[in-house]
Amino acid sequence: MRPLVVITLLGLSIVGCAERPWHGIVRSPADPAPALILAGAADRPVTRLRLDSLRGEVVVLYFGYTHCPDVCPTTLADWARAKRALGADTTGIRWIFVSVDPTRDLPAEAHGYARQFDPAFTGTAPTDAELKRLLTDWAIAAYPEGDPRTPDYTVAHPAHTFVVDADGRFRLMIPPGVRADDLADDLRRLR
């Protein structure tokens, strides 16, 4: 075989082996996901959440708030579309909305909000103390803007959807605006 042909075939085989790119941002190294434990308090009937109890499932996470008029509902509507794109078999994937607005959102309210987009979605809300801890553990920012003593403050919150794989590793960050079909494609590969 002539050398040029060999080199060409070698090149094609390398291209053929290249991994298909992900649509989300791949975290490298994919460290174990930080802890996320919401146990609530006596005055806050809770949708309890322990992320480490969900090993074996891909967990799709978003940190938002139920008074969010634009970005959160756009994201959750995109989730719902991605879930539909995955077809009838959506086992192995958990979709969890976590409020970062404990002043206004009780866990049950966050849960009802998430379920408006798809009945399979789960929502919950931390206590103040739990929120403080999860912001530190996940190295994310969320804070009220405007006067939180008034009803019309807004909340700055993480922009990305976070994806934890079935082994509990924090694998992907999905930027806002990623198409629902592309989110579904990434999740299909992780499941």
């Binding site: 969010c68 008029p69 756009t74 579309r81 920012a141 807004t154 806002p176 605006g177 198409r179 629902a180």
Partner: protein, 164 residues
């Protein structure tokens, strides 16, 4: 103010208006790309036009967003200086902005609308925020918002509520 609300089915100008904005969508989500077929009314008044207004469903007491495109077909420019709605305790012009990895909203004040220009309110961008809805908005409802301009003109728009 004279204003007319025209159903899409009978608005002869709708196709032209819709066509004019076909290339302008910078929607960051698939959702905005899907907007085209659905909504439903165009309101015109003294050279201002609202194209494809729609609102998200939301519970009473919560906030929601209205999206549309505003066009100015007059020879003079104008500025959008406010918005109001009977459907909510308060209405405001806001813009979602991503700063680093954090999503924030900031108020928009005095948005310029030059002659022949257009403002696109779209998901994950500029939007009309309705705060503390008086009644729940469910698909099939409509909600009216009125835009106020520096020239003294106003534009009333009725947005259909729908699940994107």
């Amino acid at each position: 103010m004279t204003s007319r609300t025209i159903c899409a089915a009978c608005a002869s100008g709708l196709l032209l208006l819709s066509g004019a904005c076909g290339g302008s969508e910078q929607g960051s989500s698939q959702e905005s790309a899907d907007d085209g077929a659905a909504t439903v009314s165009v309101t015109t008044a003294t050279g201002l036009a609202a194209v494809e207004p729609w609102a998200r469903p939301a519970d009473a007491g919560k906030n929601t967003a209205v999206y549309l495109q505003l066009e100015n077909t007059l020879p003079d420019g104008d500025s959008l200086i406010g918005v109001r709605s009977e459907g909510a305790e308060r209405a405001a012009l806001h813009e979602s902005v991503m700063e680093g990895a954090t999503m924030r909203m900031r108020p928009m004040i005095g948005v310029a609308l030059p002659s022949g220009g257009r403002i696109a309110f779209r998901p994950m961008g500029p939007h009309v925020m309705l705060l503390r809805l008086r009644d729940p908005l469910v698909p099939g409802d409509t909600v009216e918002v009125t835009f106020d301009f520096a020239s003294g003109r106003s534009l009333a728009v009725r947005a259909g509520v729908r699940t994107p």
